[in-house]
């Protein structure tokens, strides 16, 4: 299907760009991945390298100086980064989700047009504060509210999780549009991190995704009302935040799974080389795990192609269709559970050296990261949404 508007991205260069991302991955991201994981610290080295290649503004349209990449291409970068360090890839994905919200929904606002320019010039890193104490993970509900006098505004949110808040340059925050607004009458607001206050209310000592630094904060800040995205949050969520998140997360989990299978394959090759007469039993296991990886990749790519078509066609109504929502949710639930299955099977193949933390075939970090996928936006919450929609949706 032809995109409705001619893509401005220098398409022929995308292969070279992906080669660059692989180079950053092997030279910078991977060498620091073990201590990012061990110390639960932000992957500074990875982001310095990504900034140097101006990859933080990769989704910003060319007219503002960005790479003007497509959603599919951004997801591909996440997939490649996921092969080296899932935490670094997750931070990159979460940043791009916020960028997409601005690119898709605020391109008519003078403030955000200037901000996109800043994203390019200063390679700003954007974080997100959607969940809230008392509301839990229900993104379509807020307790906190924007308090505005018409020009300025203030906002205070108790956020149980804000990934890399203190390492970011700005945070996109959901809040009710006014103190008397309904809990679902929400807006998305950009808070400058340097002009905000943070009171730490929860730490981040987790099994995996330790480098995302997803601590909890009492966040307070303010600014000018032009920092409020002009579109209702419901539209931003349906069209951008929800599908963009699940496509980029699915992609980085795919990268994580791909690397686990790569380690499994290396192990099988080693065994085969030692005993050339009999293919090791693990070769069969390798064939099996690759089938599952194939299924994971196929499902993800199918939904991603649909989302890209909808973005190119530009009909905002299409994103709120139950069928599209169900397929995006199916992608998230499926990928997040398959990544655990795949890494577990890879560990079985690699054996004890994969179980060791101090071996080059270690799958410890992969396994711990993989288990986070089904929990970040809990799969049962997502299944609950699907269950409701499945009652009235007819097609399977």
């Amino acid at each position: 299907m032809e995109p409705a508007t001619a893509p401005a991205a220098p398409k022929s260069d995308f292969g070279a760009l992906i080669d660059d991302v692989h180079r950053i991955g092997s030279d910078v991201v991977l060498p620091h991945a073990p201590d990012v994981d061990r110390d639960a610290r932000f992957p500074h080295e990875a982001f310095a390298a990504l900034r140097a290649e101006r990859l933080l503004s990769a989704y910003v349209p060319v007219e503002f100086g960005g790479h003007g990449l497509t959603m599919t291409e951004i997801a591909r970068i996440c997939e490649v980064l996921g092969q080296y360090c899932a935490s670094s890839a997750m931070v990159y994905a979460m940043h791009q989700i916020q960028v997409a919200c601005i690119v898709h929904h605020a391109a008519d606002s003078p403030f955000f047009r200037a901000y996109m320019q800043r994203l390019v010039d200063e390679q700003l890193l954007l974080a997100s504060a959607t969940t809230e104490m008392g509301v839990g993970g229900d993104l379509r509900s807020s307790t906190c509210a924007v308090e505005s006098d018409g020009t300025g505004f203030r906002l205070k949110k108790m956020a149980p999780v804000i990934s890399y808040a203190l390492e970011s340059d700005a945070i996109l925050v959901t809040a009710r549009s006014a103190p008397d607004a309904d809990t679902s009458d929400q807006v998305l607001v950009l808070l400058d991190r340097h002009e905000s206050e943070f009171e730490e209310i929860a730490g981040w000592d987790t099994l995996g995704f330790r480098g995302t630094r997803s601590l909890g904060f009492g966040l307070s800040g303010g600014g000018h009302v032009e920092q409020i995205l002009p579109a209702p949050f419901a539209d931003i969520l349906a069209q951008s935040m929800h599908p963009f998140a699940h496509m980029t997360w699915g992609s980085l989990w795919l990268g994580l799974a791909t690397d686990a299978v790569r380690k499994a394959r290396a192990s099988v090759r080693k065994k085969m080389a030692k005993n050339p007469d009999v293919p090791p039993v693990t070769a069969l296991r390798l064939a099996e795990v690759d089938e599952i990886l194939f299924g994971m990749r196929s499902g993800l790519y199918e939904t991603m192609a649909e989302y890209q078509r909808l973005l190119d066609a530009g009909d905002p109504e299409a994103f709120s269709n139950f069928g599209f929502s169900i397929r995006v949710n199916n992608t998230k639930v499926t990928c997040s559970e398959l990544v655990v299955d795949i890494v577990g099977r890879a560990l079985q193949i690699v054996g004890i050296s994969g179980y060791k933390n101090d071996s080059s075939s270690s799958l410890g970090r992969h396994l711990r990261d993989a288990y986070g996928a089904a929990l970040m936006v809990n799969n049962d919450r997502i299944r609950g949404h699907n269950a409701t929609m499945q009652v009235v949706y007819r097609q399977s």
Binding site: R140, D182, A234, E317, S320, N321, F322, G323, M389, V392
Partner: protein, 82 residues
């Protein structure tokens, strides 16, 4: 043309944060507190009341945006029974 009947169904099944009598026919039902769960309950009640089936392509935000939008959707379905 089905606004009054739909208004009554929303009143009976809608469980909105806003009282139905305060809503105009073109008021935004999402702003009045319409959730996906309420949407589904409403849809089942409307399908039952008018003896119609909403096809998948109508299951999106625009269909449930207002009483008028729901009325238009029902109008299209009643006029062309599947």
């Amino acid at each position: 043309m089905y606004q009054e009947q739909i208004r009554k169904i929303i009143g009976d099944h809608g469980r909105l944060a806003t009282d139905i009598s305060e809503l105009e026919n073109d008021s935004d039902l999402y702003a009045a507190g319409l959730t996906s769960l309420i949407t589904v309950n409403l849809l089942l009640a409307i399908e039952d009341h008018f003896d119609v089936e909403f096809p998948d392509e109508l299951l999106s935000r625009r269909t449930f945006q207002s009483i008028n939008a729901l009325s238009d959707a029902v109008d299209g379905l009643v006029a062309q029974p599947s």
